[in-house]
Structure formats: structure tokens, C-alpha cells
């Protein structure tokens, strides 16, 4: 009650209450005296009858609402003081809650922004994209469909469907922007009528593309992406209305879109040129990505039914594009943009942070339970001083709420930092460029709600229990004995076991992620990615149709590059390693087989193997002269030899590259003579086994996309502009596009995602481990300190410190070991679904399991050992006096 007095000035109500009760007392005394009692006796008796005046004064006060508010304020002050008195407890509890809330909010925000609402586009949930699935090829769900369409096919779906009220398409096109003194490369998209209307995003400057822009004979125009406008046009508002030379055509810039508009990931958008039937890219007709908006009330199933009717009708017109058995599906656009792998990674991460939140809550629960037991006496004293039960409970609840509030506030800070960090750490191309990751209010609310629920449940239980204590008993004997009632210690133990089990699951998952990451990293490439620069060469199809035309471009280019300081050598390639060329059918004369024989085909220059440092195991590479004359010679890899040629000397054998009859610049004589065998090297990414591959002179056909691979002696990144200038000096209509060190490409596409997953899960597991250590330690330290008295007696009776140590450790292990056992069992039960999105690990990975168990045992022992040591150091005399 001191805090009331400390207020200094009692309010009027308070004074009145005093005088009212005083009046009653005086009347009583007066009555007793009137009935003949001596004054002294009358006073004594009246006082006795009146009883604990403070207590019912308190009750009178509580009936008044204005007082209630004031009391709440006092209780709040009281709660703050209670928390400040025990800073270690407060810190641990707030930290545990904040970590749980922060981490789950951050991860869920990523999930929400990447998977649920990645786009700034209107009604994005009703946008779908079309896919044609080959029913005879049951892939893993990702690889057995075609998501792009030819332009005439696209028109069929547009004109014949009954389920969409909008259907648009885009296709990538390389644009060389000629600024007069230099050229630069821009990635553009041709878009179809209705695109800007469908997305409903207002332009930042100028206008979007309109219906008139698509008409034949309309002035060529384009719209610019925000980041391109900033980076390449200096954010100059004066550029609107100006014309620019793009691929040799003067186009007027009519608008700049706001930052998040990034349809197709392009730098700029142009209306589809009506004069061009087929958009070409590297001499191949370009396919289009389709996005359609469902009519109101039309479901995905209804849309698919309609699409399949159209598909069946038009398939005979596009024999090449439709498999024998196919199904046309309408995929939610939002779902389609993030790859299955990354989607699963995100969900595993979310499960992981969910566990973390649980561990945090369990930790706080055990802290609260332990704390409540030690406060039994405090409650008794306060009950004796007149605090009603409701009042005590309210004070404890307030304390809990303050903890949750603190956890929430710090949690928001953690979430904010986490989201900031995650947006930087997010591997490129895993989420659409439109996506902005921002804090999700709902999940913050949810996490905070869980935190509040935890502290209320685990703060209230002990509070109710404590408030029921018999005042006299508690005052006399509390503070000694074996740590509270059996029920309470059972609850406390269960919470610790749960916490240990959860952290085992988290650690085991982290172990699997780590093993997978290490496995990916230790994949031997079979070639050396350092000091390599790779970039695309979008060759305008009107100038580069034949192999000879290519030679006239590449030969001087490679000669120039070789003579450039810092560059060792260069070669054209079809694809960027570790992806080995385009795939297609092959035949070996004299060999019959069932099923199709397929190989990867790389169109390269004579120094390719020197450049990538891939050794030949037999024969030799083709020469400069072989390229100039487009001789039909080939180098195969060992897998090719094993699978298709079998026993016998491969050199001199003939292979027919049938795939070369399908390219625009058809190769009539498709029989190639094997002149060399290269050692196997990864050629379908890092996660899949080596496929058959064949390397032939790049000049055998004029078709196909070309890239340039450069081996440098200097830092490859620093040679980018040198190579760009060299290309420009040979032909100003060609640009060296998207040049980047190959090591960086590898990092982005192969290592970044597993690394992010591994890093995040490990971070969560480490935090979980920290929390568990804290939890086990606090509970063991607490129970041990409660047993100081008992330990003192034991030691006085002759127990050695080692016995005491053993006793405490046993108590601790009785909690840790069941937790570990449960955790491992649950981990094994669920690890299959975790492993399904990891590469190169078994779901029961013994190394992960063993290390996790050992780690947690060690941590558990350490957490018990510290309080145990402390207990053995206490002298029996002190211990026996200990209270």
C-alpha cells in the first residue's frame, strides 16, 4: 500500500471513505460505552470487530470506476517495477518472444509478398497463364509442359475462348539502342493489345500503350521501365516524346511506368509490330508468354475445360507443338511465377520459424512458471495486506501483458531488420522483379497474438494458483521445499521436454539443409569457372542467316579479343555452362534402338576446351580450318560414348545429328565424324547426372542463339566493357548483352538458393538452440536453488560434491533425454517432406541426426552443470539457513 501513500495527496473520495469508516467506529464505541462498558474496553472491542480495515477499504475503492482506472495505473507501475527488479528474467522473456515474433513475421512477409501477392497488377488473383502438358511424359511437375505459344496459336485461343475477358501475351526481344557514338543492349518485350489496360497500372509519366499504337502504320512507340529510366536515361523527365534508334527503327518514348511495373522483366515495352508475322530471336521464331483474366464467376476448372476444347480443335494445325496426348491447363499466374523448389523452400522456412515461435513461447512459459513459484510468499504478503484475489491476478496479468508488449515491439524491430536483410539476400530470379517485400501486418498481429496468449496462459495459471495460497501457511513456510506443487513442476518439465524436442527438429532440418548445400558445393564441375566471362550476342537475324556469315563476324572478333591484354581466348557457345547446348535427336548408323536417342549439342569454336579447361581423353579438337570450312566433325563426351557407341574405338565413328534438320538454316548432311572424346563434365546444372553431349563447329548452321565465352587473365568482371567495345567495333548492330563472370552466374543459379535456405534455417536453429539452452538452464538453476536446503543436509550428512553434481545432472537429463528422443522421432517422421526439396541428402541422414543429438546433450549437460557446480560450492551451514 506504500504506493498509495506515496501519491502524497489523497483524493477527496479517499478522505471521505476514511471518515465514513471512522464515523462507524466512533458510533460503535459510543454505543458500547452507553451500554455501560468501560471506555478502554469499548474501544478495544469495536476495533476488533471492525477487523482489517484496509481490506474492505480496498473493496470499497474497487467498486468505483474512477478508482478502477487509477488502480490500473498503479498496478501498471507495480508490474513495471516487478519486471525491472528481475532484469535477467525480463530480458530473457522479451528476447525469446521477440525472436519468435520477428522471425515468423519476416518469413511470412516474404511468403505473402512472393507467393500470394507478388504483383502490383489489378485483380492478380484472377490472372492465369496457359500451359500445354505432355501426358506421356510424367515429369516432376515442372519439366513436362510448355508455357509459351506461337503467335498464330495464341490468336486461336484469344478468338475462340469463352472464359476470359482479357488475354494478352508478351515475347522477349533483344534491342540494340544506338546512341550515335556507342550502342547498348536492352531487353525488350513485344506486347499485345490490352496489356496496359489488363494490368491497370497508371504510368508515372506520359501514357501507356493504347489501342491505336497497335494499328498498322501507327508511329512506332515504346514505354520505359522505371529502373531503366533511372539508370540509363538519368531520370530525365524531358525524354518523353523524344525518339530513339532501337534496332535501327526510330521509336518515340511515350511513357515511363512506376517502379513496381516490370512485366516480363523487360527494360521497355513495344506494341507488337503488325508488319512482323513471326518475331525472331537469333533466327528462331519467338514464342509468347500468355496471361489471361478470368471472366467473373468462371472457375479454373471451367476455364480449363474450354481451353481443352480449343486445344483439341487446333492441335492438328500445330503438329510440332502438340504431343499426342496433351492437356491444356490454366495455372494461377501468381503461382506460376515462383518456381516449385523455391516455393517449397519458403514453406519449410515458414515451418521452421513456426517452430522457433513455439520454442520462444515455451521458453517464456517455463520462465514464467519458475518465477511464479518463487513468488508464492510475495503473494501471501500482499493478500494479507488487503489485496483481493482479483487484484493479484490482474497485477500478474498486467506484468505478462507488458512482457508480451515488449516482445512485440522488439519483435517488430527484428522483423523489420530481417525483411531488410532478406530483400538483399534473396537470390535473383527466384521471385518476380515486380515483388516488393514489406512487413505483413496480419502475421505480425498473429505472432503477437500467440505471444500474448502464451504469457497470459502461463502467467495466469500460476497467478491463480498463487492467489489461492493459504496466507498463513505461505507466510510461515514458503520458499523452501521441493519447488512447488507436483502439478506445477510436471507442467514445467513438460514445457522443457517440448522445447528440447522442437529444437531437435529445427536443428535436424538445419543439418539437412547444410548437408545439401555442402553436397551442391562439392559437386565437381569437370571444368574451371574462374576467370570466365559469359554474355549473349543477339545477332540480328536479317544479317546473320548462314554459318558463313557467322564466321565473318566471329573470326575477326576472336582474333581481336585474343590480342587484347587481359584476355586469353574466346569462343562462341550455344548455352552457358553448366548447361550443355540444346537437346535433340541423334542416330548412330547401324544401331537400332527403342525410344528416342537424345544428346545435347554445343556449337563452339576451336578453343572451347582450352577455355573451359575441360580435358580430352582421346583424339583432338577441331581446328580453325575445320570451322572456316564448316567440316562435319564432332567431339563427344564419355557419357555419349558409353550410351550410344558402346565398345570399340569411338574415333572415326559417324553420328547423325538429326536435330539439325529442324533449324531454320537446315543442315542437309547431318553425319558427323567423331574426332575426339572429352572427359565428362556437368552439363544439365549441378543437381542432375551428366547427359550425352556433342560439340561441333559453330559454323555448321547459321541458326541458334549465340553466346560468347571469354577466358581472361584479368578479373573477368573488369573485362566486360572491353569485350562490349570489341563486339561493337566489329558490328555496331550487335551488342554484348548481359555480360557477367561465369562464377557469378553459377553462384546465382546454383548456389544462392541452397545457401539462402541453409543460412536461414541455421540461423533459426541457432536461435532455437540459444533459447533452449536458456530454458533448460533457467529451470535447472531454479529447481537446484530450491533444493539448496536439501543439498545442504545431504552434504552435512556426508555426501560428496560429486554425488550432488550427479544428482542435479540426473534431474536435468531426465528432461533433456526424453526431449531428444521425441525430437528425433518426429524429425524422422517429417523429414521426408523436407528432403523432397533438398538435393543430395537422405531423410534419415545419420550424420545430421548424430551431431544434433550430441550437440543438444552437450548443451543440456552444460546448462545443468553450471547450477550443479554452484550447488556443490555452498557450505552446508549456509545451505541450511538458506531460504
Amino acid at each position: 500500500m506504500r504506493w498509495l501513500r506515496r501519491l502524497g495527496k489523497k483524493p477527496l473520495v479517499e478522505k471521505r471513505l476514511d471518515s465514513e469508516l471512522q464515523f462507524h467506529l466512533e458510533q460503535q464505541i459510543a454505543d458500547y460505552i452507553a451500554s455501560g462498558m468501560p471506555a478502554e474496553e469499548a474501544r478495544r472491542r469495536a476495533n476488533l470487530e471492525f477487523g482489517g480495515v484496509e481490506r474492505f477499504k480496498e473493496e470499497c475503492r474497487e467498486t468505483r470506476w474512477e478508482n478502477r482506472l487509477e488502480l490500473l495505473l498503479h498496478d501498471l507501475q507495480f508490474a513495471v517495477r516487478g519486471l525491472r527488479k528481475n532484469p535477467r528474467f525480463t530480458f530473457a522473456a522479451v528476447l525469446a518472444l521477440a525472436l519468435g515474433i520477428g522471425a515468423s513475421t519476416a518469413i511470412f512477409s516474404v511468403i505473402y509478398n512472393a507467393l500470394v501477392a507478388p504483383f502490383p497488377y489489378k485483380d492478380q488473383g484472377r490472372l492465369v497463364t496457359l500451359r500445354v502438358h505432355d501426358l506421356d511424359q510424367r515429369g516432376d511437375g515442372e519439366g513436362d509442359f510448355r508455357g509459351l505459344m506461337s503467335f498464330p496459336e495464341l490468336k486461336d485461343y484469344l478468338e475462340q475462348n469463352h472464359v476470359f475477358d482479357g488475354l494478352i501475351a508478351n515475347c522477349e526481344i533483344d534491342v540494340v539502342y544506338d546512341a550515335g557514338d556507342n550502342n547498348s543492349y536492352l531487353s525488350a518485350n513485344y506486347v499485345t493489345p490490352g496489356t496496359f489496360e489488363l494490368y491497370g497500372v497508371a504510368p508515372l509519366l506520359g501514357r501507356g500503350l493504347e489501342a491505336a499504337d497497335y494499328q498498322p502504320g501507327a508511329t512506332p512507340v515504346f514505354v520505359l521501365r522505371h529502373s531503366t529510366w533511372i539508370n540509363q536515361f538519368g531520370a530525365d523527365t524531358g525524354v518523353i516524346g523524344k525518339t530513339f534508334r532501337l534496332n535501327g527503327v526510330r521509336r518515340t518514348l511515350v511513357g515511363v511506368m512506376p517502379p513496381r511495373f516490370a512485366w516480363g522483366g523487360a527494360n521497355l515495352w513495344m506494341p507488337r509490330d503488325p508488319a512482323v508475322v513471326n518475331v525472331m530471336r537469333g533466327t528462331f521464331p519467338q514464342y509468347w508468354g500468355v496471361v489471361a483474366h478470368l471472366k467473373p464467376g468462371v472457375s479454373l476448372q471451367e476455364a480449363e475445360a474450354d481451353l481443352n476444347i480449343i486445344g483439341a480443335r487446333i492441335a492438328p494445325n500445330y503438329r510440332e507443338d502438340y504431343p499426342t496426348h496433351f492437356h491444356v491447363s490454366a495455372e494461377s499466374f501468381v503461382h506460376a511465377v515462383v518456381g516449385q523448389g523455391f516455393r517449397r523452400t519458403l514453406f519449410v522456412l515458414f515451418a521452421a520459424v513456426g517452430l522457433l515461435l513455439l520454442i520462444g513461447c515455451a521458453n517464456v512459459a517455463s520462465l514464467l512458471l519458475a518465477r511464479a513459484t518463487t513468488r508464492g510468499r510475495e503473494f501471501a504478503v500482499r493478500a494479507a495486506l488487503g489485496a483481493s484475489r482479483a487484484r493479484l491476478v490482474r497485477q500478474l496479468l498486467l506484468e505478462s501483458l507488458l512482457l508480451a508488449l515488449g516482445g512485440a515491439v522488439v519483435g517488430v524491430l527484428f522483423a523489420w531488420a530481417g525483411i531488410l536483410g532478406l530483400s538483399f539476400a534473396m537470390p535473383p530470379f527466384t521471385i518476380p522483379s515486380e515483388t516488393v517485400i514489406e512487413m505483413n501486418g496480419w502475421v505480425l498481429l498473429f505472432g503477437t497474438g500467440v505471444a500474448f496468449a502464451t504469457v497470459i496462459i502461463f502467467g495466469l495459471f500460476p497467478a491463480l494458483q498463487a492467489s489461492r495460497v493459504d496466507v498463513q501457511d505461505a507466510l510461515r513456510g514458503a520458499g523452501k521445499g521441493i519447488g512447488g506443487t507436483a502439478a506445477k513442476s510436471r507442467l514445467r518439465n513438460a514445457v522443457i521436454v517440448l522445447e528440447v524436442a522442437l529444437s531437435i527438429i529445427l536443428l535436424f532440418t538445419a543439418g539437412l539443409f547444410m548437408r545439401s548445400f555442402v553436397a551442391i558445393q562439392s559437386v565437381s564441375l569437370g571444368w574451371q569457372p574462374d576467370h570466365l566471362l559469359i554474355g549473349r550476342l543477339p545477332l540480328p537475324s536479317e544479317h546473320y542467316k548462314t554459318g558463313a556469315q557467322l564466321v565473318s563476324f566471329f573470326e575477326p572478333l576472336m582474333r581481336n579479343l585474343k590480342a587484347t591484354p587481359g584476355i586469353e581466348s574466346a569462343s562462341p557457345v550455344s548455352t552457358t555452362p553448366p548447361y550443355g547446348g540444346f537437346g535433340g535427336n541423334i542416330e548412330i548408323p547401324g544401331k537400332t534402338h527403342t525410344g528416342e536417342w537424345e544428346s545435347l549439342i554445343q556449337l563452339v569454336g576451336p578453343e572451347y576446351f582450352l577455355i573451359v579447361r575441360q580435358p580430352l581423353v582421346a583424339g583432338h579438337m577441331f581446328t580453325e580450318a575445320d570451322v572456316t570450312t564448316a567440316r562435319k566433325v564432332a567431339v563427344i563426351n564419355q557419357t555419349f560414348q558409353r550410351r550410344f557407341l558402346g565398345e570399340g574405338d569411338p574415333l572415326g565413328r559417324t553420328v547423325n545429328l538429326d536435330v539439325l534438320k529442324k533449324v531454320p538454316d537446315v543442315v542437309t548432311d547431318r553425319s558427323f565424324q567423331v574426332i575426339g572424346v572429352a572427359a565428362d563434365a556437368m552439363n544439365v546444372g549441378l543437381e542432375r547426372p551428366v547427359e550425352p553431349e556433342v560439340w561441333v563447329p559453330y559454323s555448321v548452321t547459321g541458326s541458334g542463339m549465340r553466346r560468347l565465352l571469354v577466358r581472361t587473365t584479368a578479373d573477368p568482371g573488369s573485362m566486360n566493357s572491353t569485350v562490349r567495345k570489341a563486339v561493337w567495333s566489329i558490328d555496331p548492330t550487335v551488342a554484348f548483352a548481359e555480360g557477367e563472370p561465369l562464377a557469378e552466374f553459377l553462384d546465382t543459379f546454383s548456389y544462392a538458393q541452397p545457401r539462402l535456405g541453409f543460412f536461414l534455417v541455421s540461423t533459426f536453429a541457432a536461435i532455437g538452440l540459444l533459447l533452449v539452452t536458456l530454458g533448460v538452464y533457467s529451470v535447472i538453476a531454479y529447481t537446484t536453488s530450491r533444493r539448496t536446503h536439501e543439498i545442504g543436509i545431504r552434504m552435512a550428512l556426508g555426501a560428496a560434491p560429486a554425488d550432488v553434481l550427479k544428482m542435479v545432472l540426473k534431474t536435468g537429463l531426465a528432461l533433456v533425454v526424453p526431449g531428444i528422443a521425441i525430437g528425433i522421432l518426429v524429425s524422422f517422421a517429417i523429414s521426408r517432406s523436407v528432403v523432397s526439396q533438398l538435393w543430395g541428402v537422405s531423410p534419415y541422414d545419420p550424420l545430421s541426426a548424430v551431431s544434433v543429438v550430441v550437440l543438444l546433450l552437450a548443451i543440456g549437460l552444460l546448462a545443468c552443470w553450471i547450477p550443479a557446480r554452484r550447488a556443490t560450492r555452498v557450505s552446508p551451514v549456509t545451505a541450511l539457513h538458506y531460504e
Binding site: 469508516l21 477487523g51 474492505f56
Partner: protein, 111 residues
């Protein structure tokens, strides 16, 4: 502590207080005395119940309180019934009569 001696329920006590002050304004001590006298010493309302009850009734506006001088010239807090309190009293008396009729009926007949 409030209902130790004769189990006087909160609601019952409230009703009795309303009934007592219906006769005219009284201070707390007088209310306790009247309860004791009329019930022939059956109800000895402890102050611990009486004053919270009075404050509760005041908060609900069933009684009105006023500081006035007593006959001895000492200032005391007098409670008097409000219109709202009068209505409440009627409701509670009716309820009580029904309850007690029902209870006595059962006690008399259910053998």
C-alpha cells in the same frame, strides 16, 4: 471473510439494505444497527460486507449518498433510496417472495 457468520448472499444483502433505506436516509452504522435489530440479532452484518455493498449500490445509482450532520452534530454519510433503487427493490422483493414460496412449498410437500 465477507459472509462468514450467516451466509448472507451479496444480492440478499443488497435487497435488505435497499429495504432499510426505503424508510428514509440513514448512515452506514444505523443501517447495520437496523438490520441487526429487525432481524432480532440474526444478521450481524460485518463492516467488511456492509461498506463495499453500500458503495456498490451507490455506483449503480440505486442509492444516493449525502453528507449531513447527525443529531450529535457530527458529519456522516447518509444513504437514501433513488427512484431507480425503488424499482430494483420491487423486482428483488418479488423475486425473493417467489423463491421463498417455492422453497417452502417443496419443504412442506416433498416427502
Amino acid at each position: 471473510m465477507p459472509t462468514e457468520k450467516n451466509d448472507l448472499h451479496r444480492g440478499t444483502l443488497d435487497m435488505l439494505i435497499l429495504k432499510i433505506v426505503a424508510a428514509g436516509p440513514l448512515h452506514g452504522y444505523a443501517i447495520a444497527q437496523r438490520l441487526q435489530q429487525i432481524s432480532k440479532d440474526y444478521f450481524q452484518v460485518p463492516q467488511g460486507s456492509l461498506y463495499p455493498a453500500l458503495h456498490r449500490l451507490e455506483e449503480r445509482e440505486w442509492v444516493d449518498a449525502e453528507w449531513k450532520d447527525t443529531s450529535t452534530g457530527r458529519e456522516a454519510k447518509f444513504y437514501k433510496l433513488t427512484a431507480k433503487g425503488k424499482k430494483q427493490l420491487e423486482v428483488e422483493v418479488l423475486g425473493w417472495e417467489r423463491l421463498s414460496d417455492a422453497v417452502s412449498l417443496i419443504l412442506r410437500t416433498a416427502d
